[in-house]
């Protein structure tokens, strides 16, 4: 049985078609990434799947349970960490987790043990008895993750778990998610606007745009649809040199396409490693001053670009993280 099945899941807010007929099936134990820009319908989808919002049309099952008719049974199976950490500044981390455990009807001794273990897992044991108001952004996110896990859910929903985190905290969250999935067999449904996050974390991916799934598959499969490697050659000198470089590169055998972007020639070619020497040689012969050269596999951004004709610009990760 699949962990999550959605059929024609739709949500309209008046005229706005936030989610427009989504069909997905997610295998048990997978980390499923839902990649899209802000306002693409990710959060609305997650809110429907977590029973917080009723769909306008279509249906979905989580662990075989209908999200509308069996909402309460669904809630017992799922853990949810939503975009804004739902934390009280005046409570301590331990109190907050205890409260959450109590709401699931866990007996006192079980709650105490579970809270202690979880605080250990998310590296908050030292801060457990401090007020949450003094936590950093990363600590709050980790606590939120722990709160979502308190009752051993079989499906974990994370809405943009690392938005606004610094790189170290982001890595930490990824580590916990991977660990959970590997050790406990939890199915993870996470939304993200970060290409790198989707690429690194998700086994299985859907790209959403304007309320529709526009691409679906594992990150590797999706990138394979692009079919070629990407050789990027930085070019020094005047703008005219870039035109010459593009022309020269396009003439190299096997090159499929050349694009000019930000002072570099981006060359799409099936086997980048083999073609790179010929490309550099051709540019040199054309009298172009060659700077950096890099070979890359196609990225998810290329997939997004192909499906929508746009870059997922909003999805670039901040270099130094926002909130510490």
């Amino acid at each position: 049985m699949s962990a999550i099945v959605a059929e024609g899941l739709t949500k309209h807010f008046g005229e706005v078609r936030a989610v427009n007929g989504i069909d997905i099936e997610i295998a048990r134990g997978a980390i499923f990434g839902f990649l899209g820009a802000n306002g693409s319908g990710k959060t609305t989808t997650i809110r429907m799947l977590t029973t917080l919002l009723k769909p306008t049309a279509g249906s979905a099952r989580v662990e075989g349970l209908d999200i509308v008719a069996e909402a309460r049974a669904v809630r017992r199976r799922i853990g949810v960490a939503l975009q804004e950490a739902g934390l009280d500044d005046l409570q301590t981390g331990r109190e907050l987790l205890t409260l959450q455990g109590r709401l699931f009807g866990m007996p006192g001794a079980q709650v105490r043990r579970r809270v202690r273990d979880l605080l250990e897992i998310v590296d908050l044991a030292g801060a457990a008895d401090r007020a949450v108001g003094g936590y950093s952004g990363g600590m709050k996110r980790r606590l939120d993750l722990a709160a979502a896990l308190i009752h051993w859910p079989s499906v974990l929903f994370l809405d943009e778990p690392t938005t606004g985190l610094d790189p170290a905290s982001r890595e930490a969250v990824w580590r916990y998610v991977n660990q959970l999935c590997a050790e406990d067999g939890i199915t993870v449904f996470l939304t993200t606007q970060y290409l790198e996050e989707a690429d690194r974390l998700a086994h299985d991916l859907a790209i959403i745009d304007e309320g529709r799934v526009i691409a679906r598959g594992s990150p590797a499969d999706l990138k394979a649809t692009i079919g070629t490697d990407v050789v990027t050659v930085r070019v020094g000198g005047p703008a005219e040199a870039l035109d010459r470089a593009a022309e020269a590169a396009a003439a190299v055998p096997a090159v499929e396409r050349v694009q000019r972007a930000d002072g570099a020639a981006v060359v799409y070619v099936p086997n980048g490693a083999r073609a790179v020497a010929r490309i550099v040689l051709a540019l040199d012969e054309a009298g172009v001053e060659v700077g950096d050269v890099s070979i890359a596999q196609p990225s998810l951004d290329d997939v997004f670009l192909q499906a929508t004709g746009r870059h997922l610009r909003a999805g670039e990760m901040p270099a130094d993280g926002g909130a510490a």
């Binding site: 049985m1 048990r28 809110r47 977590t50 029973t51 917080l52 919002l53 662990e63 075989g64 349970l65 008719a69 069996e70 909402a71 309460r72 049974a73 809630r75 017992r76 199976r77 799922i78 949810v80 939503l82 975009q83 804004e84 950490a85 739902g86 934390l87 009280d88 005046l90 409570q91 109190e95 409260l99 959450q100 455990g101 109590r102 709401l103 699931f104 009807g105 866990m106 007996p107 079980q110 579970r114 007020a131 709160a147 308190i150 009752h151 051993w152 079989s154 406990d184 067999g185 939890i186």
Partner: protein
């Protein structure tokens, strides 16, 4: 959802779940957990605790002294400070109740409400927990007002306090229900501030906390009497001033308290009845609002 549907659902998934939290939160446990959170947060928030007392105490002292000497004595020689003291108790209860009810706005804004709403618990229990938490806080505040009453030069006996506390508990419950009912419809803290300017403060000032309700112009009389808070303030004052009111001569020009409807004077119990009815209505609205919350 029916019980059998849930049991069936449980059986279907039981095989798949690796480990499982044992037990299930009953209605009362959920109420207790949410109640605890409300109370705990209140006692952690020193600033809120202090500010809740500042205004009523300042008003009591400043108006009681500053205004009391300049305005004509009330029938039965009741001092103005003595007169407004029950009003100030009602005010502190009102402010605390409504504000903690409305804190559901910030709960929503910071996602806490959603996190609770994804737990498999009764929405009604969440609502009742929230309301009883707010009511407890308001009741504690009211009780503290009584405790400091002698310091403020107010005559009040323990017997009167013992009668007042259950009434104040009821009033707090009603007003917190009002707060939750209002708060669950609001989307932002800003709209709450607007609401308190146009609705809560007028309701407070029109409830007779500062003046006898039966000695006002006709237009104000209407506003006072359709104001539900009036029915909460009147019985508090009637009990708090029972001794002094008994000494008011029968031919006094106007009734100091007791709401009058077209010449009919409501008894204390009838006023409490109005509070009960309004409280039940607010509770129903609040529960319904929280149920339909996304």
């Amino acid at each position: 959802m029916t019980v059998s549907a849930e049991a069936g659902a449980d059986a279907r998934v039981a095989a798949g779940a690796p480990r499982r939290a044992t037990g299930r939160a009953g209605f009362l446990q959920v109420v207790r957990v949410i109640w605890m959170r409300e109370v705990l947060i209140y006692f952690r928030d020193r600033a809120r605790m202090i500010s809740a007392f500042t205004m009523p105490v300042i008003m009591l002292v400043m108006f009681g002294e500053g205004l009391g000497n300049s305005i004509a004595q009330l029938p039965g020689d009741i001092g103005y400070r003595q007169f407004i003291f029950p009003g100030m108790v009602a005010m502190i209860v009102l402010m605390n109740s409504v504000f903690s009810g409305v804190s559901i706005v910030t709960d929503r804004q910071f996602g806490f409400l959603r996190e609770i709403l994804v737990a498999p618990v009764s929405r009604t229990a969440i609502c009742i927990g929230k309301i009883s938490g707010g009511a407890t806080v308001a009741l504690v505040n009211g009780a503290v007002m009584f405790a400091i009453a002698p310091l403020l030069g107010i005559d009040i006996t323990l017997e009167v306090v013992a009668k007042l506390l259950p009434l104040i508990a009821l009033v707090s419950f009603m007003l917190t229900g009002l707060g939750v009912a209002l708060g669950s419809r609001l989307r932002s803290v800003e709209s709450f501030q607007m609401l308190s300017q146009v609705a809560i403060f007028p309701a407070m000032f029109l409830s007779g906390i500062f003046f006898p309700i039966n000695n006002v112009p006709a237009w104000m009389d209407v506003l006072v009497k359709i104001n539900p808070v009036t029915y909460a303030v009147a019985p508090i004052r009637e009990i708090a001033l029972s001794e002094q009111l008994a000494a008011v001569p029968a031919d006094a020009p106007f009734q100091i308290t007791h709401v009058e409807w077209f010449g009919y004077t409501l008894s204390t119990w009838e006023e409490i009845g109005v509070v009960l009815a309004f409280g039940a209505l607010m509770l129903t609205i609040a529960i319904r609002a929280i149920r339909t919350t996304e």
